[in-house]
Each structure stands twice: as C-alpha cells, then as structure tokens.
Symmetry: C4
Subunit: 229 residues, 4 copies
C-alpha cells in the first residue's frame, strides 16, 4: 500500500542520515498522501543502516496505524498535528542537528542574516514558547505540534518552513519528504553562518526587506527565475 510514498520517505530518511545532520538513530522524516489522508513515517529507534521501504509505517490522520510491523516514531503525534493544521505541507523532518539545536536551546530566533537564508526562508525562523508542565505531562508529542502551530499564527508555514522548539530542536517541512529534509539541511547551514556572523559582529542584523523579497521570490512563486522551470 502506498509503495511509492514509502519508498520516497525511506529515501528522505536515508538522505537525512547521509547529510550528517543526525547521528545514531536520531531524527525522523515523514511524507503524506493528501488524497488518502495517510502519512508514512520512520519507525521508532531503528538504525538508518538497516532502514528499508517496507519498514516505513503508515498512519492515518486520525492517528491510527494502518500498515507496518513496527511502532512509528515516538514523534508521530507532532507530525500528525502539523499535517492536520497545515493543509499545504507534504513532508515533515525533525532533527537534532547541532547548530539548529543550539538555537533551540538558546531560545534564539534566526533573523534573515543574508541571501542564503532569504533563498529558502521568507523571514525570521521563529522559536516556540516553552512547552508547559501540563502540556509535557499529557500528550507531550501532540502538544509539541500544537505549540509549533500556535507560534505560526499569522505566518504562512509554506513561506518559513522551519521552527526551533524551545529547549528541544528544529522541525522543518516542505511540499514532500525530500523537501523537508532539504530545508533541514539549509537551516543547519544558516544557523552555522548565524553563529559565526554573531561571533564577528556581536549582533544578528537582518538584511533589507527588498533583498529578502528579491532572493526569496527569484526562487519561489510565479515570478521565480532560478532553476530550469
């Protein structure tokens, strides 16, 4: 069932591992079939070296597992909530990549410091508020998703496909699983650059809205002219 989706999600998880963003069995990527209302996600705690498409778990948008011998990622309810609230996304990626996690731990937003950022994220990558004691003790992973969506009130998630969860790490998303991983890779690089930029200048100052518009819009939307399309 949904063999192609499972294949894509498996490959996206392997790309995450090969990118160096994650070590051990950290991180998880999912992708959704919107017509069927089913998403495919990495099984919990499985070694990337052994991951095969048939290991990928299928989960319905009401949270029920519909296929797979293994338990899905323990972060499944977070992915679920993002898919439910944001109809426009097709893939979600969670990592503990080191520089992005440092931003999450420091609860520091990443303003658009340059065109590398502007090419992929249309403005500041935000930090969630701290998740509360009650939210941790009851349905922690679901509430992680809710706290992310709360932070994006007034922001279109497709335009800034990344967030730092306070004290935790980054989530990224995209139109499919592969793009969510790509956004995780870009976020890690933008965070590394941000750390060094602050080390040099003592501050993090955003580029102008005009330059942000230019770079974001030459890659996204109807007037994009980057790439071959």
């Amino acid at each position: 069932m949904l063999e192609e989706l499972k294949e894509q999600v498996c490959r996206a998880n392997l790309e995450l591992s090969e990118s160096g963003l994650v070590i051990l069995s950290w991180g998880n990527v999912s992708g959704i079939d919107r017509n069927k209302g089913i998403f495919a996600i990495k099984p919990s705690g499985v070694d990337y070296a052994k991951l095969r498409p048939e290991d990928i778990v299928l989960v319905r948008l009401d949270g029920e597992k519909v296929e797979g011998d293994m338990k899905p990622s323990s972060d499944t309810p977070t992915h679920l909530e993002l898919y439910r609230q944001w109809g426009g996304i097709g893939g979600v990626c969670h990592t503990h990549s080191p520089c992005a996690t440092a931003y999450a731990q420091a609860e520091t937003e990443l303003p658009c410091l340059g065109t590398t950022h502007a090419d992929h994220f249309y403005g500041t990558v935000p930090v969630t508020r701290k998740i509360s004691k009650e939210e941790i003790e009851n349905d922690y992973e679901l509430n992680t998703g809710k706290v992310i969506c709360e932070r994006f009130k007034g922001i279109e998630p497709e335009t800034i496909p990344a967030v730092f969860c306070a004290g935790h790490g980054p989530f990224t998303w995209g139109k499919n699983a592969a793009e969510s991983v790509k956004n995780g890779i870009v976020l890690e690089m933008a965070c590394k650059m941000g750390l060094d930029t602050m080390s040099l200048s003592g501050k993090m100052q955003a580029i102008s809205q005009t330059l942000l518009d230019k770079h974001y819009l030459r890659k996204h939307g109807k007037d994009a002219y980057y790439g071959q399309n």
Copy 2:
C-alpha cells in the same frame, strides 16, 4: 576464553575510532563479564587499524591479567575501579573527544540544556575535583577512578553515564562496551551544542525537570515507549 566478549570489545573500540571521537591511538573501551569477574580492554598504544579481537587483553577484577600477549591500556586501573564500585555497569569508554575535553579542561559542568541531553543523561554531567599531587604520584590511574566515584556519591551512575575528569577528558559507561561508546558519542555532540548554545545566549540554562523527566523516561525504564521494545 571469553571470545564473544573480546569480539564485542574489539568492535566497540573500532566504532570509537570510526566515530571520529579519537585520533591516532587515543581512547580505550572495555567490557566486563560479571559472572566471571573478568573484563576485556584495548591493549596500550595499539593502532586501531591493526586491532583484532585476539589483541584484546583480559583482566580480573583484582587487577591481574588473565589472557593476552600485550599490555592492557595504561588506563586499565581506572576502568577497574569503576567496575568494582559500580556493579550495574558493563562497559567503560575513555576518549579525548575535542568538545568534551574542552569541558574537562575548563572544569565546566554540562547542565541539561535540551532534549538531546535529556534523552541520554538524566541531569547535569558533572566534573570531578582536581586530582591531588599525592593521588597523581601514587596509583594515578586507580585514583582517577576513585575521584570519579567520589564525584558520583549520591548520583546513580546508570542514570548519568558520563563524567568530565578535570584537566583531562571524559569517561562514559553503559550496560556494555557498545553502549559506553554510544554515550561517548552523545556526550561529544551535547558538548558541541553546549558550546554553541553558550555562544548564542551567554549562559547555559537547564530545561525544566518535567521536560527532562519526559525525555529521559520515554527512552529509559519500565514506561519507556521509544524504540521497538
């Protein structure tokens, strides 16, 4: 004798080398057979590229070598002391991995800054006191172990399987040799994140006890739900 243990310890040492945590012939990993009261450890100063299971040295808990053509690691008495004092551990790993060694050199503890840490260490990774002149001059390696155990009075070593030895480097442990290496890898990553977190925020502030409990306990103990078991 104890062929499987020697094989496991050899493999764990090679994993340490492949992880990039150590260069040259630095670092050493051991694992113990509690029934026989014998542990297996890397020989001293041997090139990882040439290490084979038959090179692994077997040592009794009274410190006597029971098998092996080579001299055991010069840090053997440190491993010995940890095994003697802490009946619940099955493997010990010592590295000079760069970020963790910086914490040891700076004599800076690593509080639980985020869930990456909380997933593996149930609270602050402590620093030992400085080892004294007398302790250095007589049985230095044994006293290194004693100073570690002294620091863990009141802490269950299984819950925080890592320490920074002041002016020296990290030791990690686990239920077997492989897990002690894994904890060394996680510690290095947590220290890298800690360095960047402090660089961003100017401080190192722990996450809440509730979030620490949640992450630690979803991976450890009877109510764990991470992974496939």
Copy 3:
C-alpha cells in the same frame, strides 16, 4: 563549440562541489574565452551529481546565450559584469561557503592576518557596500557585479581575487575557472582562521607590509620562487 572550455568549467564546478564549499545546488563557476568573447557557466539549479560538460551554457559578453539547452545560472549577469570590467580575469566563482558568508553577513573585511592569506591575496579582502533598493529592484544580478567593481576602484582585481558582497556571500576569481575555485577554497580557510584568531585575541590585526610582500611575491610575479616554474 568551445568543448575544452566547457570541460574545464564543468570540472571546476565539480571541484567546487567536492571541496565541501557548497551544499545542494548552491554556487556557480564560469570561465571565459577572451578571443571569442564567450564565457561558459553552470546551468541554474542543476544537481552537481548530474552535471556534464554538455550542460554548461555558453554566453556572449553582450549577455546573449549562444549555446546550451538549459538556462544559465541566475547569477550570470554578475559574472558578465566582472568579465566586462576586468580584462585580466579568466574565471569567476560564487559560493555560500559558511565562514566567508559569515564575513559577508557581518559586513566585516578580512585583513591579511597571516602568511596563509598573504600567499594568495595581496592585502585586505574587502566588503562591498550594501546594494540599494533601486539596484535590487532593477537588474539585481548585474548591479551586484557593478557594486563589486565599484568597491575595487583603486585595487587591481588580479592581486586580491576575492570580495564579500554585503549580506550575501563571497565571489572569487582568477586566471581561469579552476583558479577561481582555488581562491574560493583559500578564502574559506582564511576566514575560518580569521574567526578563530579573533576569538583568541579579540582583534584582527594585519601582519607587516614587508611580510605580506615577501609571501605574496614569492608566489606571484616575475621574482616568484615557489613551485616548479
């Protein structure tokens, strides 16, 4: 047409990718045939893993594409302007390499901090001024080239083959495509060293003009004695 040039430019782009300076499809390298007034450049947004010499696009110095099935890099007008203004250069390289991009984002010049720098760049690597709203909104990529050339008034571009574009990233150049990539690699390393030098000493202080002369001139010009020529 110009098969050898396309081959060289393809190889230089692959070297850029293999050097680790760029991730994803970031970056672009070009090389020019001055006799024909035609330069060869990477197509826009193409995966390095799939790049072949026949994909390289040929562009005339008046901006017209003369060969190639694909669209040239969106940064083509920047390369064009550098070739038009600076008759002595034969290759141009643009990256978002992390340390050099941090300098660009922090709008911080890189003085000649040591002989590593002096071996390749004859003085401070400059930062451009911020590009204006009007320059962004009309012919942004061409204006990027103009702002670079403006910054080099009074500087011979062959002697300092690198610049930081404010809020953007580095451009480097050289006598051909391969050398422009090599200068990009050296710039990234000099920036990494610069970051660590400032972290240690709290300042960035240039070496003496005599030491700069010595190192630059033992590698460049008629009295050079480095290498086999």
Copy 4:
C-alpha cells in the same frame, strides 16, 4: 640514493595530506639521515595526489641539493636551520592547519591545558617573536628557522616539539618525518580544544606540574609505561 628515507618522507607527506591538516599543496615534511648529513624534503608546490618517492628532493646540511629533478620546498632553509641547530631531531613538519595557525596569527601561546597536551608536549607551546623587516628581506626562510631556535633557548626542542611562528603558522618536529607529522596532528587538536576551553571558561589555565609530569613521563623517557615497549 637514500631510497628508504625518500619513501618514508613521501609517506609522511601523504599522511599529512590525508590527516586533513593541509589543503591544496600547502605544507611540507622532511626527514634526515644524520650519518650522511642529508635530508629529504617535499618538492615545492607539488600536488599531494601526484607525489611519489622519486619526487622527494635530497639536500645536504650545507644547503646544496644532491638529488632530485625538482626544486625543494621554498621552506627548505627553515628545515635546514632546525636540523643544524638541533642535533636530536630527525624530522620536521610545516602546516597551515587552521586552529594552530589561528594561535600563530593571534600570537597566543598554548599552555598545557590538559592531559591531551601533556601526553605529547612537556609544557607551553611557545610563539616566536615577530620576524623583523631585515630578516624578511634577506634570507627570510633561513631567518624563520633562526627565530624559532632563538625562541627555544633554554627549552629542549625534543620535549616541546612544536612552535607557532608569529603571523605565519606552526612547525613541529620529531625523531623522524612520521613523528613530526603526528606532532602536527596533536598540536592542531590541542589548539582546537584550547579555543573551546577559552570559549567556555574565558581563560587558558595550565594543569599542575605534577599532572603534566605524570602524563608526559608515562609516555616518554626511561620510566614510560604507555604502549607495548
């Protein structure tokens, strides 16, 4: 002539390249046959990928080339001076490895911050004074060697086989070419740890003389007990 020495020196240069300490054609390693008063050194500006034992150049201690089709490294007179002044060394290595070069550029000594350092260097790794205008303009490379030897007055070079040349980079040495490279690798790692230690603690504080003695002497000298000898 001296085929085994050339083979050793070639291999040591390749190890330097594989260690990641150098990029491009940077760095050079030499080794000496004290009986013949001849040393073997890397040719100038040659690609490591193409380096073969027959490319290694043989030079007499009076500075005359005695074998080799290529010009020796432009740093040859520095190596020569170290061999002439220090009869106890058998190999010399020069790199621009990034962290050690940052120390050289910042003119910051590296005190013995921990046992990683103590295992290899018996005390502070010193920085030379700035080389003068006159010393640069006449026999620069020879004077580089003289300035190093001047800095080591009162220090046995065998016990601290490393120096930072102000504004330039590190030189390391050892009993042969391979050991000089190994000391270069250790120095780079000690410098990386030093940068992070200072970032954490705001200072660089040496460990006690007793701990330095213990670690240095368990690896060096007649009472050493590290390794298999």
